[in-house]
């Protein structure tokens, strides 16, 4: 049975290669992809972590990057979802065996699995989202982000807003809240940036940080949010995946705090959140994935290194104010624009850890 599938695959590869050659020969390739940019038709895929698709965070964002690549670069895409950590190796090798390359592994827990499979499948390229590889081989690239820069911008907004009066929920306690999923480096970078950003506009601001210990516990997120609000926090930033959705609920239900989302523009991903969603610190995993696919399609897979995407590379950023756009004073918007310029120019270097 396996053999027949293999034969089928070989046949498919031969046919598609023949197709590519024909497309390359014909002077006017009508729909065979953007031959002008040198993009060949490749098959690329991703393996989700146990969070799976629908996490509204890095799994969904990686998929969005692949979908954009499918549309713009005419590549074939595939997603395999993992249910248990045992599935990581299986899914990576299934895709490698089926000829997909590059294969993206989403999440730091897949570090061991990618390292193992990159040796087993030396001809397959691998991209690891949020994985900082030690000495990655030529067929492996680590894709990391400067979450601290996005956190810094969110901190600037929150630090100025908690002193402002544009919304009745903003109190005089000068206190901000942070909810973290797990205490892992990407989340800690968000926290460090958030604290640095808030202190840059008001050194006297008080910031309380709480960690939930997991990314998928909305009840816990709500509980932590409520306890922050009862301690006087009027703006809460949650870098906690689905747990943060619970924190958003705490802000909405209490009617005493505004919320700052994370990773994606959560105004768009959490329904009816416009009333509390001040902004979001975004991490453009989709951009990073898209760029790697684009390079790979052009035969220039950026392997053998860890790439870090920051504000300058459009790898992180801050989302629009949406429903708050008319309320937020111009002074805050100017401060954010200035912080963006300073980070991009290098005048401000945001710390990655709390001091």
């Amino acid at each position: 049975m396996k053999r027949s599938v293999r034969t089928g695959l070989v046949a498919a590869v031969v046919v598609s290669m023949a197709g590519m050659m024909l497309a390359g020969c014909s002077p006017a390739a009508p729909s065979g992809g953007s031959a002008s940019s040198g993009a060949a038709s490749i098959k690329t895929a991703m393996v989700t972590d146990v969070g799976g698709l629908g996490d509204k965070s890095f799994n969904d964002l990686s998929y969005a990057g692949l979908q954009r690549a499918q549309k713009d670069l005419k590549v074939n895409i595939k997603v395999l979802q993992s249910h248990q950590i045992t599935d990581y190796v299986t899914n990576l090798s299934e895709l490698s065996g089926a000829g997909y390359s590059p294969v993206f592994a989403v999440g730091f827990l897949m570090s061991d699995a990618v390292t193992q499979e990159s040796t087993a499948f030396p001809k397959t390229d691998f991209g690891g989202i949020d994985i900082d590889f030690t000495n990655p081989p030529k067929n492996v690239v680590g894709l990391n982000f400067k979450e601290q820069e996005a956190g810094y911008l969110a901190g600037v907004v929150a630090g100025l807003a908690t002193q402002a009066t544009f919304d009745p929920r903003l109190n005089k306690d000068n206190t901000l809240g942070f909810v973290g999923g797990m205490a892992i480096p990407p989340v800690q970078r968000y926290e460090a940036g958030f604290v640095a950003g808030a202190k840059s506009v008001d050194p006297g601001v008080k910031i309380i940080s709480l960690y939930a210990g997991r990314f998928d516990d909305q009840a816990k997120g709500k509980e932590l949010g409520l306890s922050l609000i009862s301690s006087g926090a009027d703006i809460v930033f949650a870098a906690a995946g689905q747990t943060g959705t619970g924190t958003e609920k705490a802000c909405a239900d209490s009617g005493k705090a505004l919320f700052i989302g994370v990773d994606s523009d959560q105004f768009l991903t959490i329904p009816n959140s416009g009333n509390v969603m001040l902004t979001s610190a975004v991490k453009r995993v989709d951009n990073a994935v898209y760029l790697v696919v684009k390079d790979a399609a052009a035969g220039k897979f950026p392997g053998g290194q860890n790439l870090t995407f920051g504000l300058k590379d459009d790898g992180v950023g801050i989302a629009p104010f949406h429903d708050f756009d008319s309320k937020v004073p111009q002074s805050i918007k100017d401060a954010v624009a200035k912080a963006e310029t300073d980070i991009k120019s290098g005048a401000v270097v945001v710390p990655t850890t709390l001091k």
């Binding site: 049975m1 396996k2 599938v5 146990v50 799976g52 595939k78 997603v79 395999l80 979802q81 249910h83 248990q84 950590i85 045992t86 599935d87 190796v89 299986t90 899914n91 090798s93 299934e94 895709l95 089926a98 730091f108 827990l109 570090s111 061991d112 087993a120 797990m182 205490a183 892992i184 480096p185 800690q188 210990g213 997991r214 990314f215 998928d216």
Partner: protein
Amino acid sequence: MSETREVVVRESGWLKVLRLVGVPFISVLLAMAVGSVIIAVTGGDPVAAFAALLQGAFGGPVQIGETILRTTPLIFTGLAVAFGFRANLFNIGAEGQLAMGALAAAWFGLLLAGLPTGLAIPLVMLGGALFGAAWAFVPALLKARVGAHEVITTMMFSWIALYLVSWIVTGPLSDKSGIPETPMLSSSVWLVTFDKFIAGIPPVRAHLGFIIALAAAAVVWWVLSRTTLGYSVRAVGFNPQAAENGGISIAWTTIWALCISGALAGLAGASEVLGVQHRLFDQVSTSSGFGFTGIAVALLAKNNPTGVVFAALLFGALAAGSGNMQLEANISPQIINIIQGLIIFFVAADSIVTWFIKRRQRLALESKVVADAE
């Protein structure tokens, strides 16, 4: 008349076999049938889906290895839950005992890495079993002394274990990488994979833990059917009052049964750490749910140790084939969860199936009796 009674006796023996093997089998078929309908309704091709599933689970040495890999922990947890059930105890906290066993393996594995492999591995596995048993001991004691229901206490202890592990992998045993994980164990304490001792097969991930699991199933069978303890367990499970009147201590039997159950779950955790991950990750966020799937395995197996092996194999194959089902047939892995849920549903509803079988037999028997009378 005497002839009729003979027929009844013979039929009931046949009925027992049918109940043990036939009902689970029919339940699985029914679950697959309903699963097929769901796949078809959601726009998939059921035939292609199950073909891909089979291919992914049994299509070659690598695939069979993946199935065995996923079967291994389920044999342990299935045995754990089944052993409890035989004493009428519902150990719903196998998940936590598994986490403690895994913790023991990650810890002792680091400490004993210098010992010869043949000595280190049995010691580490034993440590896993002891930690699992210890974690079941308090709920067992509470049940035996004050009657606190084990469903509540083992469940609560499960959460304590998961968060305890969570703290340990980010604190005392952290590998300081920032990722919640313990350091990688030295390969001297890894359970070897099958390709190391079966010549001519490609590298597979199935490991020695499977053999240990089969041995555990044999031991559980032996304990249950051939020892005084096993007799006590079954007697207490069957009728506690009668057992006590017969001189069996309910309290001691409860403690033994739950601790053995916990030890088996602990072995599952140790086997996963030594055989698959070679380190321990945070369990709150990455728990594989083997403890809970073990309940389904025990139910499907009707708490029979041999049955547990086959039921675990079924669930292992479903999990192993799900990747290929996504790849080849574009079927979402949630379908596999639905099928697992359906199997449990139909097994739990087996009284319906048995009722139908009995009814048909009674009807057949009645017509036979009538025919004999005439």
